[in-house]
Amino acid sequence: MNVVIALTITGILNLFGSIFSYRKITPLLSIIGLTTAIVFNSMYWNTNQSFFNHMMVVDNYAVAFGTVCMVLAACLIIFYNRFMGDNDHHLPEVLSVIVLSVDGAIVMVSYTNLLMLFLGVEILSISFYILAGLKKKDLGSNEAAIKYFLMGAFSTGFLLLGITLIYGATASFDLSVISEYVKLNSTSTNYLLLSGVLLILVGLLFKVAAAPFHFWTPDVYQGAPTIITAFFATVGKIASFGAFYRLFQMCFSPIVNEWSGVIMVVAIITMFIGNITALQQKNLKRMFAYSSIAHAGYMLLALLSHDYLGGNAILFYSIAYGISSMSAFIIIHIIQTQTGTDEAMGFAGLVHKNKTLAMITAISMLSLSGIPLTAGFFGKFYLFSSAIESGYVLLVCLAVINSFIGIYYYFKPVIESYFKDSITDDVIKLKSVETILLIFLSIATILLGIFPGLVPAI
């Protein structure tokens, strides 16, 4: 499987960057490695090959989600280089961790064996623990790391117990065997299996930050370096949902009635907690952490759909959400380095400092809040209509109410940047590659909002 190999080689090459003193070119190296992996990945489209003795399969689902994760990671590395680049003595190592964690994401979206699910989740999570604590002297970063680490390890225990119980019931870790077993035994209740399913559900709900397993999210997102937070909120969440949907749609759909109630209740609580708590946040990173919780609530709706619609919906939503969150966090990062604050007032008068940035802020906020003619609208549209098709009308009503609550806080940075006066008049200057990248993300947002058919069906 060339993608994994390419990423791993890139990661290892990066690690040697400090020793053989080519650390300056490691960002370039990472980008080249990721680009190669993306090319390899796209070559697997429509091939449906299976690898490593049926431990992984590269179907269209895996290709699509893998590409999204890698593209987002590449964006991130471009910006990481700018803001950490010169004063960061561990640049090659950090880049290596980032690239290798993408490996974990790839495994998470293409596994066909619970062992690979576990490995993927752990590769991603352990890298994340390291990344959260990157600023060694910063107490916030320390706290984020320990919180993430302890709670993550704790939730891994539940995930593993779940996998074990399923193994106990089905005698296999292979998804196809498990799904056969579930199909045959869907009429009678098997407590071993059901407990296993529920515990895996808990483990994955933790990873996607759904209530009541969301408590780590705001603290970790706020404490971690902003650019890393962008990584958690996009790649981390998208890969987790990729894994989540794959498992529950492939294996456990025959017993959907046993777990759909849990998902419904969790989705409702998650949406409300995320959106309502976000209303009063002054710290933008924290606000976006809550917003990402709310988005997890919406995305849970896709798990409830009975057919392939859910997969398409969750893919589109992931792309829309990933692009917009990425640009939002990058802008917060830019403003944080400029003004030293990550609160909403840092955006005051942004339009006078850099028009492009203000416009991109507006576009990404519109998309996150789901206003028509942005990608976010169709993301929500697909999600909600897939849930409606499966008959969850009330749930969709609540989700729509929530998305309207959401609009309120997403407009805060926009109002700040357009209608408030700035404290300082410093112009924010960006390198041309960064401006181009941000504009590219915005154009993608608008383009997907007008032609949602651009995302292929999987």
Binding site: K147, L194, L199, D219, Q280, E389, G453
Partner: protein, 637 residues
């Protein structure tokens, strides 16, 4: 020309892109030419389409360009529907829109955000045209949100400080509530019909029986959307606040076009509404109550634009009554005439404000007829049109709605008649306070007073002509006329077999006309006596005192009687509606729900204690709960 229909929304979009990207680089003249030119070209195409449609005999044409969205068995086409309903709306939007664009060239000339203003206006035109042209509910909704967005952008055009937030927030919350209803209706349509295409939905809805619960729900949800956008009880209070925007915006968005989107939507869905009699009844009652209430509030407002805003709300109420009575073509008729005279009134008010260097308080105006002759004449016609004096436009369209109400229910008829009287009262009050008496403003203002430039007066004159003769499209049979408009719309509404007939005897119509004329003349005299004074006190108290003394000195006991039995109760009602209902109940509910959410928010915030031990505990409680309930469930089953 019909093949070029895609250019109609596209041209303003191109204008928006050029003006938006080139803001600051393009000169004011170029920006104005691009802004007006794109709308003008659209208007030409629309005129061509109108002409071709007449030749074709009114057959609806649906142009499908590409499949926009596919999700499972659900596919939404990007398609435009050209029928007589959309043609009339397009004519109104591009026609009135063009005039207002031209007007804005003069009105906004000294503004630094000139190019930005035209960019926003063009974006609005694009969204509005998508709204009226879209051939399915999704496209309608996208236009719906688009016009809402432009509305906020333009309300806040001049406000860079905190004042903006309150007004915008209110508009925001109320429109969200409306949109929520619309979206739920949209999803329900998908679920019921499996499509959102107008023609397919309306053909499959025929198999439902009248009063079907699903249809009733769909129509009710859609109406909630219309309540928000078209400012009906209880979601109307945002519209007067929206007057914070520049006056051309108030004329275009908050009077002539956007606020009628709700009426267009219901007229478009007429087949469904006719199948849901209880919703229709509800629509009519809400419309009637809104009309009455807004009419009352308009009586005591002193801000020139606020009077017109409440008047708009009131007139929209009229249109909803017509829709509720299944008199769809009458509603569209009133949409059209209202677009003419209300746009004219707003533009005239803008001209007055422009002349007085930004003064909006009517108590500080007066006697302007000498200084602003063109504005005065046009406003006079507009006032006569809105109060329904024959033969001006409002007379015919209002008359139609009144007769429809009479044939259906006495209750609605009485309320609407009462509202008509109120309309006459506040409009003449507005008219006299502004143009008659003596000037009550500052010396600076009187020195700088000037008639507006040509680019502003020309649209006024054109709209004046339209307001004067626009009613000719629907002369009732009682006057030996021919109802062109209702014949024109026959292709749209004729297929709906459930439209009730609104025939009333010609005798009644004559009576109605005569009574309304007499009433208008009486009220004219009354308001003239009351407001055409040389001196009118500046504050409310002073006004009452001075009048009181004057009247008792002159032994005008008739006036005193008037005051006691008409003016005081009216003012009382007006204050009651304004202070208690609008300020306390509706704003209170909006603010209250906001506060509740904020309270919840702080509760949830305190749950996030920062303590890992607590987080883990919550997780464990969650896990135990999930396991417990899921396993318990399987046992009981």
């Amino acid at each position: 020309m019909t093949d070029l229909v895609w250019l109609v929304p596209l041209l303003p979009l191109i204008g928006f892109i050029i003006n938006g990207l080139g803001f600051g680089k393009i000169s004011k003249n170029t920006a104005a030419i691009i802004g007006c030119g794109s709308v003008f070209l659209s208007l030409i195409i629309v005129a061509g389409i109108f002409y071709e449609d007449l030749g074709r005999g009114g057959e609806a044409v649906q142009k499908t360009y590409f499949t926009w969205i596919t999700a499972g068995n659900l596919s939404i086409d990007f398609s435009l529907l050209i029928d007589r309903l959309s043609i009339v709306m397009m004519l109104i939007v591009t026609g009135v829109g063009l005039l207002i664009h031209i007007y804005s060239v003069g009105y906004m000339h000294n503004d630094v955000g000139f190019g930005k203003f035209f960019a926003y206006m063009n974006l609005f035109m694009f969204s509005m045209l998508v709204l009226v042209l879209g051939a399915n509910y999704v496209m309608l909704f996208i236009g719906w949100e688009g016009v809402g967005l432009c509305s906020y952008l333009l309300i806040g055009f001049w406000y860079k400080n905190r004042e903006y937030t309150a007004a915008a927030n209110k508009a925001f919350i109320m429109n969200r509530i409306g949109d929520l209803g619309f979206l739920l209706g949209l999803f329900l349509i998908f679920k019921t019909f499996g499509t959102s295409d107008f023609q397919r939905v309306f053909s499959s809805v025929q198999s439902f029986s009248s009063g079907d619960i699903t249809i009733t729900l769909i129509t009710l949800f859609l109406f909630i959307g219309a309540m928000g956008k078209s400012a009906q009880i209880p979601l109307f209070t945002w519209l007067p606040d929206a007057m914070a925007g520049p006056t051309p915006v108030s004329a275009l968005i908050h009077a002539a076009t956007m606020v009628t989107a709700g009426i267009y939507m219901i007229a478009r869905s007429n087949i469904m509404y006719a199948l849901a009699p209880s919703t229709s009844e509800f629509v009519a009652v809400v419309g009637a109550l809104t009309a009455l209430m807004a009419g009352f509030i308009a009586l005591t407002q002193t801000d020139i634009k606020k009077v017109l805003a409440y008047s708009t709300v009131s007139q929209l109420g009229y249109m909803f009554v017509a829709l509720g009575l299944t008199a769809y073509s009458s509603a569209m008729f009133h949409v059209m005439t209202h677009a003419f005279f209300k746009a004219l009134l707003f533009l005239g008010a803008g001209s007055v404000i422009h002349a007085l260097s930004g003064e909006q308080n009517m108590r500080k105006m007066g006697g302007l007829r000498k200084h602003l002759p063109i504005t005065f004449i046009t406003m006079a016609i507009a006032t006569l049109a809105i109060v329904g004096f024959p033969p001006f436009a409002g007379f015919f369209s209002k008359d139609e709605i009144l007769t429809a109400a009479y044939s259906h229910s006495m209750f609605l008829f009485v309320i609407l008649s009462l509202t008509s009287v109120l309309t006459v009262l506040y409009m003449f009050r507005f008219f006299f306070l502004t143009f008659f008496g003596e000037f009550r403003g500052t010396k600076y203002q009187i020195d700088h007073i000037h008639e507006s430039p040509k680019s502003m007066t020309l649209p006024l004159l054109i709209l004046m002509v339209l307001s004067a003769v626009g009613g000719g499209l629907g002369i009732p049979e009682a006057l030996g006329g021919k109802h062109f408009l209702s014949e024109y719309f026959n292709h749209v509404f004729g297929g709906n077999t459930r439209i009730q007939s609104h025939e009333v005897s010609h005798f009644f119509e004559y009576g109605l006309m005569i009574i309304s004329m007499v009433l208008i003349i009486l009220i004219y005299q009354f308001t003239k006596q009351r407001y055409d004074k040389k001196v009118i006190g500046k504050s409310v108290e002073e006004l009452k005192m001075s009048l009181w003394y004057k009247l008792s000195l002159n032994k005008f006991y008739v006036d005193e009687l008037y005051d006691k039995i008409i003016v005081k109760p009216l003012n009382g009602m007006s204050n009651f509606f304004f202070n208690s209902i609008e300020k306390k109940v509706i704003d209170g509910a909006v603010n209250g729900s906001g506060q509740t959410v904020y309270f919840l928010s702080s509760m949830l915030k305190s749950l996030q204690s920062g303590n890992i031990g607590f987080y883990v505990l919550m997780m464990v409680i969650g896990i135990v709960a999930i396991l417990f309930f899921s396993l318990i469930n399987t046992i009981t089953l």
